[in-house]
């Protein structure tokens, strides 16, 4: 007896149960579609560079906010302003602020200044996602209002270092980018 050829088999099935064959084919297509979509979703959901990008944006927004906080102070609400300074920082910078708080408070109370800050632009230059360390560049405009005097604007370029503590990015170091110092580290 000759072997049943595939196209004979298919033809027989088509003649006998055309709807069943069509339905099975459709099922197969649907299965393939679902499988492909599943793989596509899994890849997107477990994309390391996407997670890294999210962390970069987290670090930048925390960095910009913290730098703004640390350049904002109203002599009328010193307590609140300095509490915000402390909650925006961690590590060495935090310790320095805590240690110098009383002295600084006295200075601002006497000068009666109101400082506000606006971030003009910011960028993350380094990000170690695992260690929880990042460096940011921030262009900042600080407006200082002294009693009786005019408000004065000062643009500054800041270099910040951020450390992730308990899931939050906080400033651990902050300084002005030095002028005339060509040795960029």
């Amino acid at each position: 007896m000759p072997r049943t050829r595939p196209h004979h088999l298919l033809r027989a099935a088509l003649v006998a149960r055309p709807l069943l064959v069509a339905a099975l084919a459709l099922l197969l297509v649907a299965g393939g579609f679902a499988a492909r979509s599943g793989v596509s979703w899994y890849r997107a959901a477990h994309d390391d560079s996407a997670a890294y990008a999210v962390e970069r944006d987290n670090a930048l927004s925390a960095g910009e906010q913290s730098v703004q906080n640390l350049n904002t102070l109203d002599h009328n609400s010193l307590e609140r302003g300095l509490d915000l300074w402390e909650s925006s920082t961690t590590g060495e910078l935090h310790s320095q602020l805590v240690a110098g708080r009383a002295k600084f408070e006295e200075q601002v109370r006497q000068a009666k200044t109101v400082s506000t800050a606006k971030v003009l632009s910011g960028a993350v230059t380094e990000l170690d996602d695992r260690a929880g360390r990042a460096r940011v560049l921030i262009a900042l405009r600080v407006t200082v209002r002294a009693p009786g005097g005019e408000a004065s604007d000062k643009d500054s370029r800041m270099l910040g270092e951020l450390t992730r503590t308990e899931g939050h990015w906080k400033l651990s170091a902050l300084g002005q980018a030095p002028v005339g110092d060509t040795s960029a580290d």
Binding site: L10, R17, A30, F33, A34, A35, R36, D47, G122, A139
Partner: protein
């Protein structure tokens, strides 16, 4: 990739699978008899109907699940964070930083007798609005530079890529500019610039500069 393109591609793959299944069925003896069996008129209609519902139901569920997953995947990929390749694409990030920094150093550095060379490199390194602004500014400065023997040296101190998406990038650059007038002592000042750059061939060209 749009959602529909994705589906189209999936269907093609699934068709390919269907063909292989048919050929696999060759060796199975009794396959024809079985399909003949299901056609028997004395077969209980309830069982056939249940099977039909099951088949249709599973197909619908698979299609819905597939569509849902595809939409989720698209959402994840289109997230603003993922679309910005600053730092995630380290090679491109280094490239933009380098090209923009060296371009700024070139166009904002000149000697009293070398303004021609500066202007020439600017034509190559700048485009769009930045080129127009620079041409205007440089025309004003040029005479004074020769007259007062001014030398300007610009160096990029630090730069960071704010956003990087395909052939377009935003870069924040901190510059040091040292100016020397005649025999006077040089004066160094700081500048912050927001630069928009576009990839032209294998080089990033500056198309807009904003002082910060």
């Amino acid at each position: 990739m749009s959602v529909w393109e994705g589906i189209g591609r999936v269907v093609k793959v699934a068709e390919g699978e269907a063909v292989t299944t048919e050929t696999e069925a060759v060796g199975e003896s009794g396959a024809v008899e079985e399909s003949g069996d299901t056609d028997a008129p004395d077969r209980p209609p309830a069982r056939s109907r249940r099977r039909r519902f099951l088949l249709g139901g599973v197909t619908v569920v698979l299609v819905l699940a597939g569509a849902g997953l595809l939409v989720k995947a698209q959402e994840l990929r289109a997230a603003p964070a993922a679309a910005n390749h600053a730092l995630t694409d380290t090679e491109a990030t280094t490239r933009v930083n380098g090209d923009v920094s060296s371009a700024l150093a070139k166009i904002f550095s000149y000697t009293p007798d070398g303004t021609g060379a500066t202007g020439r490199s600017a034509r190559e390194l700048l485009g769009g609005r930045a080129a127009r602004q620079y041409t205007q500014l440089f025309a004003q400065v040029r005479e004074r530079v020769a007259e007062q023997r001014v030398t300007l040296t610009t160096q990029s101190v630090r730069s960071g890529v704010v956003s990087l998406d395909g052939d377009s990038a935003q870069v924040l650059v901190f510059l040091d500019q040292t100016a020397r007038r005649g025999d006077h002592k040089p004066v160094t000042s700081a500048a912050q610039l927001s630069v928009t750059a576009r990839l032209r061939g294998d080089h990033w060209q500056i198309v807009d500069i904003k002082a910060r």
